[in-house]
Amino acid sequence: MGRIGITLKMFDNGGQIRIIEAFLAISVMFSALVLTAPMSSTPDLEKQGTLKKIGTQVLIKLDNNGTLGKLIEGGNWTALKQSMDLFLPAGVFYNMTIYDENMQRVNTQEVSNSNQEGSEAVVIQYLCATQSSDTHFYTIKLQLAWPK
Protein backbone atom coordinates (compact mmCIF):
# COMPACT_ATOMS: atom_id res chain seq x y z
CA MET A 1 0.00 0.00 0.00
CA GLY A 2 2.86 2.33 0.97
CA ARG A 3 4.69 1.56 -2.30
CA ILE A 4 1.59 2.21 -4.41
CA GLY A 5 1.09 5.56 -2.62
CA ILE A 6 4.68 6.70 -3.37
CA THR A 7 4.38 5.72 -7.03
CA LEU A 8 1.11 7.58 -7.38
CA LYS A 9 2.65 10.69 -5.79
CA MET A 10 5.60 10.46 -8.22
CA PHE A 11 3.22 10.23 -11.15
CA ASP A 12 1.35 13.30 -9.83
CA ASN A 13 4.63 15.33 -9.56
CA GLY A 14 5.64 14.16 -13.03
CA GLY A 15 2.47 15.65 -14.48
CA GLN A 16 3.12 18.99 -12.81
CA ILE A 17 6.71 19.00 -14.08
CA ARG A 18 5.46 18.31 -17.60
CA ILE A 19 3.13 21.25 -17.31
CA ILE A 20 5.97 23.45 -16.07
CA GLU A 21 8.24 22.20 -18.88
CA ALA A 22 5.57 22.82 -21.46
CA PHE A 23 5.00 26.27 -20.01
CA LEU A 24 8.75 26.96 -20.12
CA ALA A 25 8.96 25.75 -23.71
CA ILE A 26 6.08 27.98 -24.71
CA SER A 27 7.67 30.95 -22.90
CA VAL A 28 11.01 30.38 -24.64
CA MET A 29 9.36 30.21 -28.06
CA PHE A 30 7.14 33.16 -27.28
CA SER A 31 10.06 35.30 -26.07
CA ALA A 32 12.05 34.33 -29.18
CA LEU A 33 9.18 35.46 -31.36
CA VAL A 34 8.73 38.64 -29.33
CA LEU A 35 12.46 39.39 -29.64
CA THR A 36 12.55 38.85 -33.38
CA ALA A 37 9.31 40.70 -34.11
CA PRO A 38 10.80 44.21 -33.87
CA MET A 39 13.66 43.09 -36.09
CA SER A 40 11.31 41.98 -38.84
CA SER A 41 9.32 45.17 -38.47
CA THR A 42 12.39 47.44 -38.68
CA PRO A 43 12.07 50.19 -41.30
CA ASP A 44 11.55 48.74 -44.73
CA LEU A 45 15.01 49.19 -46.21
CA GLU A 46 13.74 48.81 -49.75
CA LYS A 47 11.32 51.66 -49.16
CA GLN A 48 14.14 53.70 -47.64
CA GLY A 49 16.36 52.94 -50.62
CA THR A 50 13.61 54.08 -52.98
CA LEU A 51 13.17 57.31 -51.02
CA LYS A 52 16.91 57.97 -51.10
CA LYS A 53 17.00 57.38 -54.82
CA ILE A 54 14.02 59.63 -55.47
CA GLY A 55 15.46 62.41 -53.30
CA THR A 56 18.92 62.26 -54.87
CA GLN A 57 17.46 62.20 -58.39
CA VAL A 58 15.35 65.28 -57.66
CA LEU A 59 18.36 67.18 -56.32
CA ILE A 60 20.48 66.13 -59.31
CA LYS A 61 17.72 67.19 -61.69
CA LEU A 62 17.55 70.63 -60.07
CA ASP A 63 21.34 70.95 -59.91
CA ASN A 64 21.97 69.79 -63.47
CA ASN A 65 21.53 73.21 -65.07
CA GLY A 66 22.58 75.17 -62.00
CA THR A 67 19.02 75.98 -60.91
CA LEU A 68 19.48 74.58 -57.39
CA GLY A 69 22.52 76.79 -56.73
CA LYS A 70 20.79 79.83 -58.22
CA LEU A 71 17.69 79.40 -56.04
CA ILE A 72 19.78 78.98 -52.88
CA GLU A 73 22.12 81.85 -53.74
CA GLY A 74 19.13 84.09 -54.44
CA GLY A 75 17.39 83.00 -51.23
CA ASN A 76 14.39 82.07 -53.30
CA TRP A 77 12.95 79.58 -50.80
CA THR A 78 9.42 79.75 -52.18
CA ALA A 79 10.59 78.76 -55.66
CA LEU A 80 12.78 76.04 -54.17
CA LYS A 81 9.80 74.65 -52.25
CA GLN A 82 7.66 74.82 -55.39
CA SER A 83 10.33 72.91 -57.35
CA MET A 84 10.52 70.22 -54.67
CA ASP A 85 6.72 69.96 -54.59
CA LEU A 86 6.74 69.58 -58.36
CA PHE A 87 9.47 66.96 -58.67
CA LEU A 88 8.82 64.80 -55.61
CA PRO A 89 6.02 62.22 -55.86
CA ALA A 90 2.77 63.23 -54.20
CA GLY A 91 2.52 62.05 -50.62
CA VAL A 92 6.23 62.10 -49.82
CA PHE A 93 7.04 64.30 -46.84
CA TYR A 94 10.22 66.35 -47.07
CA ASN A 95 12.15 68.85 -45.05
CA MET A 96 15.18 70.59 -46.51
CA THR A 97 17.89 72.38 -44.55
CA ILE A 98 20.70 74.21 -46.30
CA TYR A 99 24.07 74.98 -44.74
CA ASP A 100 26.93 77.12 -46.02
CA GLU A 101 30.61 76.14 -46.03
CA ASN A 102 30.85 76.89 -42.29
CA MET A 103 27.81 74.71 -41.64
CA GLN A 104 25.68 77.72 -40.74
CA ARG A 105 22.04 77.33 -41.67
CA VAL A 106 21.23 79.40 -44.75
CA ASN A 107 17.51 78.96 -45.36
CA THR A 108 15.61 81.54 -43.38
CA GLN A 109 12.28 79.95 -44.28
CA GLU A 110 11.14 76.36 -43.94
CA VAL A 111 11.56 74.39 -47.13
CA SER A 112 9.18 71.64 -46.17
CA ASN A 113 5.76 70.27 -47.07
CA SER A 114 4.76 68.89 -43.70
CA ASN A 115 5.39 68.99 -40.00
CA GLN A 116 3.84 65.57 -39.57
CA GLU A 117 5.83 62.52 -38.66
CA GLY A 118 6.34 60.07 -41.47
CA SER A 119 7.61 56.55 -41.60
CA GLU A 120 10.71 54.99 -43.21
CA ALA A 121 12.44 58.40 -42.96
CA VAL A 122 15.79 58.91 -44.66
CA VAL A 123 18.29 61.75 -44.72
CA ILE A 124 20.16 62.66 -47.90
CA GLN A 125 23.26 64.81 -47.76
CA TYR A 126 24.04 66.63 -51.00
CA LEU A 127 26.85 69.01 -51.85
CA CYS A 128 25.79 71.80 -54.18
CA ALA A 129 28.29 74.07 -55.94
CA THR A 130 26.91 77.13 -57.67
CA GLN A 131 27.73 77.93 -61.29
CA SER A 132 28.07 81.63 -60.55
CA SER A 133 31.38 83.39 -61.06
CA ASP A 134 31.82 83.71 -57.29
CA THR A 135 31.41 80.02 -56.57
CA HIS A 136 29.61 79.10 -53.36
CA PHE A 137 29.21 75.69 -51.78
CA TYR A 138 26.16 74.53 -49.87
CA THR A 139 25.48 71.32 -48.00
CA ILE A 140 21.86 70.26 -48.32
CA LYS A 141 20.25 67.92 -45.83
CA LEU A 142 17.04 66.55 -47.24
CA GLN A 143 14.83 64.48 -44.96
CA LEU A 144 12.24 62.36 -46.73
CA ALA A 145 9.52 60.13 -45.36
CA TRP A 146 6.51 58.18 -46.51
CA PRO A 147 3.24 59.12 -44.79
CA LYS A 148 2.40 56.85 -41.83
Partner: protein, 252 residues
Protein backbone atom coordinates in the same frame (compact mmCIF):
# COMPACT_ATOMS: atom_id res chain seq x y z
CA UNK B 1 12.34 2.07 -13.71
CA UNK B 2 14.64 2.97 -16.61
CA UNK B 3 11.58 3.55 -18.74
CA UNK B 4 10.24 5.94 -16.13
CA UNK B 5 13.57 7.85 -15.96
CA UNK B 6 13.54 8.16 -19.75
CA UNK B 7 10.02 9.50 -19.65
CA UNK B 8 10.99 11.98 -16.93
CA UNK B 9 13.99 13.34 -18.91
CA UNK B 10 12.06 13.63 -22.18
CA UNK B 11 10.64 16.97 -20.96
CA UNK B 12 14.16 18.35 -20.59
CA UNK B 13 15.00 17.19 -24.11
CA UNK B 14 11.96 19.04 -25.42
CA UNK B 15 13.04 22.14 -23.53
CA UNK B 16 16.55 21.97 -25.00
CA UNK B 17 15.08 21.42 -28.46
CA UNK B 18 12.83 24.42 -28.05
CA UNK B 19 15.78 26.49 -26.87
CA UNK B 20 17.76 25.41 -29.92
CA UNK B 21 14.84 26.29 -32.19
CA UNK B 22 14.57 29.72 -30.56
CA UNK B 23 18.29 30.29 -31.09
CA UNK B 24 18.03 29.25 -34.74
CA UNK B 25 15.05 31.58 -35.18
CA UNK B 26 16.94 34.48 -33.63
CA UNK B 27 20.15 33.93 -35.58
CA UNK B 28 18.22 33.59 -38.85
CA UNK B 29 16.43 36.88 -38.21
CA UNK B 30 19.73 38.59 -37.35
CA UNK B 31 21.35 37.19 -40.51
CA UNK B 32 18.46 38.35 -42.69
CA UNK B 33 18.58 41.78 -41.08
CA UNK B 34 22.35 42.13 -41.66
CA UNK B 35 22.07 40.99 -45.27
CA UNK B 36 19.30 43.53 -45.94
CA UNK B 37 21.38 46.28 -44.34
CA UNK B 38 24.45 45.53 -46.45
CA UNK B 39 22.32 45.27 -49.60
CA UNK B 40 21.16 48.83 -49.08
CA UNK B 41 24.67 50.08 -48.36
CA UNK B 42 26.08 48.52 -51.49
CA UNK B 43 23.23 49.49 -53.80
CA UNK B 44 25.07 50.36 -57.00
CA UNK B 45 22.35 52.81 -58.03
CA UNK B 46 22.94 54.86 -54.88
CA UNK B 47 26.68 54.85 -55.56
CA UNK B 48 26.12 55.87 -59.18
CA UNK B 49 23.95 58.76 -58.03
CA UNK B 50 26.61 59.77 -55.54
CA UNK B 51 29.35 59.67 -58.21
CA UNK B 52 27.13 61.63 -60.57
CA UNK B 53 26.46 64.27 -57.90
CA UNK B 54 30.22 64.63 -57.29
CA UNK B 55 30.83 64.99 -61.04
CA UNK B 56 28.02 67.53 -61.30
CA UNK B 57 29.53 69.56 -58.45
CA UNK B 58 32.93 69.49 -60.20
CA UNK B 59 31.33 70.69 -63.43
CA UNK B 60 29.51 73.53 -61.67
CA UNK B 61 32.77 74.64 -60.06
CA UNK B 62 34.62 74.62 -63.40
CA UNK B 63 31.80 76.59 -65.07
CA UNK B 64 31.74 79.17 -62.26
CA UNK B 65 35.51 79.49 -62.32
CA UNK B 66 35.82 80.06 -66.07
CA UNK B 67 32.94 82.55 -65.86
CA UNK B 68 34.95 84.39 -63.22
CA UNK B 69 38.22 84.29 -65.23
CA UNK B 70 36.44 85.41 -68.42
CA UNK B 71 35.22 88.49 -66.55
CA UNK B 72 38.75 89.45 -65.58
CA UNK B 73 39.33 87.20 -62.57
CA UNK B 74 42.66 85.57 -61.84
CA UNK B 75 43.63 82.24 -63.45
CA UNK B 76 44.15 80.84 -59.95
CA UNK B 77 40.41 81.03 -59.22
CA UNK B 78 39.86 77.61 -60.76
CA UNK B 79 42.39 75.92 -58.48
CA UNK B 80 41.19 77.81 -55.42
CA UNK B 81 37.59 76.72 -56.05
CA UNK B 82 38.61 73.13 -56.77
CA UNK B 83 40.60 73.05 -53.51
CA UNK B 84 37.42 74.04 -51.66
CA UNK B 85 35.41 71.38 -53.49
CA UNK B 86 37.98 68.69 -52.68
CA UNK B 87 37.99 69.67 -48.99
CA UNK B 88 34.19 69.50 -48.81
CA UNK B 89 33.86 66.21 -50.70
CA UNK B 90 36.61 64.56 -48.66
CA UNK B 91 34.71 65.54 -45.52
CA UNK B 92 31.68 63.52 -46.62
CA UNK B 93 31.27 59.98 -45.35
CA UNK B 94 27.80 59.08 -46.49
CA UNK B 95 28.91 55.91 -48.27
CA UNK B 96 32.42 55.54 -46.87
CA UNK B 97 35.64 57.50 -47.04
CA UNK B 98 35.61 59.83 -50.05
CA UNK B 99 38.86 60.98 -51.63
CA UNK B 100 38.70 63.44 -54.50
CA UNK B 101 41.82 64.69 -56.26
CA UNK B 102 42.23 66.92 -59.26
CA UNK B 103 44.83 68.15 -61.72
CA UNK B 104 44.34 71.17 -63.94
CA UNK B 105 45.47 71.06 -67.55
CA UNK B 106 48.88 72.64 -68.04
CA UNK B 107 49.54 71.58 -71.62
CA UNK B 108 49.52 74.54 -74.03
CA UNK B 109 47.35 76.43 -74.77
CA UNK B 110 46.09 75.85 -71.20
CA UNK B 111 47.68 77.43 -68.18
CA UNK B 112 46.42 76.57 -64.68
CA UNK B 113 43.56 74.78 -66.43
CA UNK B 114 42.40 77.91 -68.24
CA UNK B 115 42.60 78.92 -71.89
CA UNK B 116 41.38 82.35 -72.91
CA UNK B 117 41.91 83.28 -76.53
CA UNK B 118 40.05 86.34 -77.73
CA UNK B 119 41.52 86.74 -81.19
CA UNK B 120 41.28 89.36 -83.89
CA UNK B 121 40.45 86.96 -86.69
CA UNK B 122 36.86 86.20 -85.76
CA UNK B 123 37.65 83.38 -83.33
CA UNK B 124 37.43 83.47 -79.55
CA UNK B 125 37.60 80.78 -76.87
CA UNK B 126 37.04 80.71 -73.12
CA UNK B 127 37.86 77.28 -71.76
CA UNK B 128 38.71 75.45 -68.55
CA UNK B 129 39.91 71.86 -68.23
CA UNK B 130 40.51 69.70 -65.16
CA UNK B 131 40.88 65.99 -64.51
CA UNK B 132 39.58 64.27 -61.41
CA UNK B 133 40.06 60.99 -59.60
CA UNK B 134 37.60 59.90 -56.97
CA UNK B 135 37.95 57.00 -54.59
CA UNK B 136 35.32 55.65 -52.27
CA UNK B 137 36.45 53.12 -49.70
CA UNK B 138 34.54 51.33 -47.02
CA UNK B 139 34.57 47.91 -45.36
CA UNK B 140 32.39 46.63 -48.17
CA UNK B 141 33.36 48.76 -51.15
CA UNK B 142 36.46 50.16 -52.79
CA UNK B 143 35.59 52.04 -55.96
CA UNK B 144 37.72 54.26 -58.19
CA UNK B 145 36.27 56.69 -60.62
CA UNK B 146 38.09 59.11 -62.91
CA UNK B 147 36.66 61.77 -65.14
CA UNK B 148 37.49 65.08 -66.74
CA UNK B 149 35.55 68.29 -67.08
CA UNK B 150 36.11 70.47 -70.10
CA UNK B 151 34.01 73.59 -70.34
CA UNK B 152 34.64 75.40 -73.62
CA UNK B 153 32.72 78.32 -75.06
CA UNK B 154 33.70 79.11 -78.64
CA UNK B 155 32.73 82.16 -80.64
CA UNK B 156 33.14 82.64 -84.37
CA UNK B 157 32.31 85.89 -86.16
CA UNK B 158 32.15 86.54 -89.89
CA UNK B 159 31.09 89.78 -91.52
CA UNK B 160 30.81 91.75 -94.72
CA UNK B 161 29.57 95.16 -95.71
CA UNK B 162 27.91 96.92 -98.62
CA UNK B 163 28.60 100.57 -99.41
CA UNK B 164 25.38 102.55 -99.61
CA UNK B 165 26.01 106.28 -100.02
CA UNK B 166 29.49 107.80 -99.79
CA UNK B 167 30.91 106.45 -96.50
CA UNK B 168 27.67 104.89 -95.39
CA UNK B 169 27.96 101.15 -95.16
CA UNK B 170 25.56 98.40 -94.31
CA UNK B 171 27.42 95.90 -92.16
CA UNK B 172 26.22 92.31 -91.76
CA UNK B 173 27.74 90.15 -89.05
CA UNK B 174 27.08 86.46 -88.41
CA UNK B 175 27.87 85.17 -84.92
CA UNK B 176 28.10 81.50 -83.97
CA UNK B 177 28.29 80.34 -80.39
CA UNK B 178 29.24 76.84 -79.25
CA UNK B 179 29.40 75.14 -75.87
CA UNK B 180 31.65 72.06 -76.00
CA UNK B 181 31.44 72.13 -79.80
CA UNK B 182 27.62 72.12 -79.74
CA UNK B 183 25.45 75.10 -80.69
CA UNK B 184 24.57 77.15 -77.63
CA UNK B 185 22.31 80.06 -76.84
CA UNK B 186 23.63 83.41 -75.69
CA UNK B 187 22.24 85.46 -72.86
CA UNK B 188 23.87 88.60 -74.22
CA UNK B 189 25.31 89.61 -77.59
CA UNK B 190 27.04 92.99 -77.79
CA UNK B 191 28.55 94.35 -80.98
CA UNK B 192 30.89 97.30 -81.54
CA UNK B 193 32.29 98.79 -84.72
CA UNK B 194 35.41 100.83 -85.06
CA UNK B 195 35.79 104.36 -86.42
CA UNK B 196 39.41 105.46 -86.17
CA UNK B 197 40.38 104.76 -82.54
CA UNK B 198 36.87 104.64 -81.15
CA UNK B 199 34.68 101.61 -80.63
CA UNK B 200 30.99 102.44 -80.99
CA UNK B 201 27.93 100.36 -80.25
CA UNK B 202 25.29 100.55 -82.98
CA UNK B 203 21.80 101.48 -81.84
CA UNK B 204 18.34 102.10 -83.25
CA UNK B 205 19.59 105.16 -85.18
CA UNK B 206 21.85 102.74 -87.08
CA UNK B 207 18.90 100.45 -87.90
CA UNK B 208 20.61 97.94 -85.68
CA UNK B 209 18.87 94.55 -85.74
CA UNK B 210 19.94 91.27 -84.19
CA UNK B 211 18.18 88.13 -85.35
CA UNK B 212 18.34 85.05 -83.14
CA UNK B 213 17.99 81.85 -85.16
CA UNK B 214 17.63 79.82 -81.96
CA UNK B 215 20.47 77.47 -82.83
CA UNK B 216 23.45 79.44 -81.57
CA UNK B 217 23.54 81.59 -84.73
CA UNK B 218 22.89 85.32 -84.50
CA UNK B 219 22.73 87.72 -87.39
CA UNK B 220 23.42 91.40 -86.75
CA UNK B 221 22.96 94.19 -89.25
CA UNK B 222 23.47 97.97 -89.02
CA UNK B 223 24.15 101.10 -91.06
CA UNK B 224 27.02 103.44 -90.22
CA UNK B 225 29.25 106.07 -91.76
CA UNK B 226 32.64 104.42 -91.76
CA UNK B 227 35.33 106.10 -93.86
CA UNK B 228 37.81 103.21 -93.93
CA UNK B 229 37.87 100.53 -96.62
CA UNK B 230 37.39 97.75 -94.11
CA UNK B 231 35.03 97.58 -91.16
CA UNK B 232 36.34 96.24 -87.87
CA UNK B 233 33.80 94.79 -85.50
CA UNK B 234 34.15 93.44 -82.01
CA UNK B 235 31.59 90.95 -80.67
CA UNK B 236 31.20 90.16 -77.00
CA UNK B 237 28.95 87.26 -76.08
CA UNK B 238 27.87 85.92 -72.71
CA UNK B 239 26.54 82.39 -72.89
CA UNK B 240 23.82 81.03 -70.64
CA UNK B 241 26.43 79.78 -68.18
CA UNK B 242 27.55 83.42 -67.83
CA UNK B 243 30.88 82.69 -69.55
CA UNK B 244 32.15 85.66 -71.51
CA UNK B 245 33.90 85.34 -74.85
CA UNK B 246 34.97 88.00 -77.27
CA UNK B 247 36.56 88.31 -80.68
CA UNK B 248 37.29 90.97 -83.27
CA UNK B 249 36.74 90.49 -86.97
CA UNK B 250 37.32 92.47 -90.12
CA UNK B 251 34.44 92.83 -92.55
CA UNK B 252 35.27 93.41 -96.16
Amino acid sequence: MREMERKQSSGQVILIAVLAMALILLSTQIYVFEVRMSTVHLDSNSLNDYFFAIKLGSRNVVIGSIANVSEGGSNTVLMANLDKLVALVNRQNQFGRSTLNYTVEETAPYSSGVWLFWGTDGFGVSSAFAQFTFNLSDREVDADFSYFINVTTTLTVKGNYRTMLADEKQVNVTVNLLNEAKPALASQVTLYYRILDRWLAPNASNNYIVTDYGNGTYFASFLANIPSLTVEVSVLVRDQQQILVQTNATCS
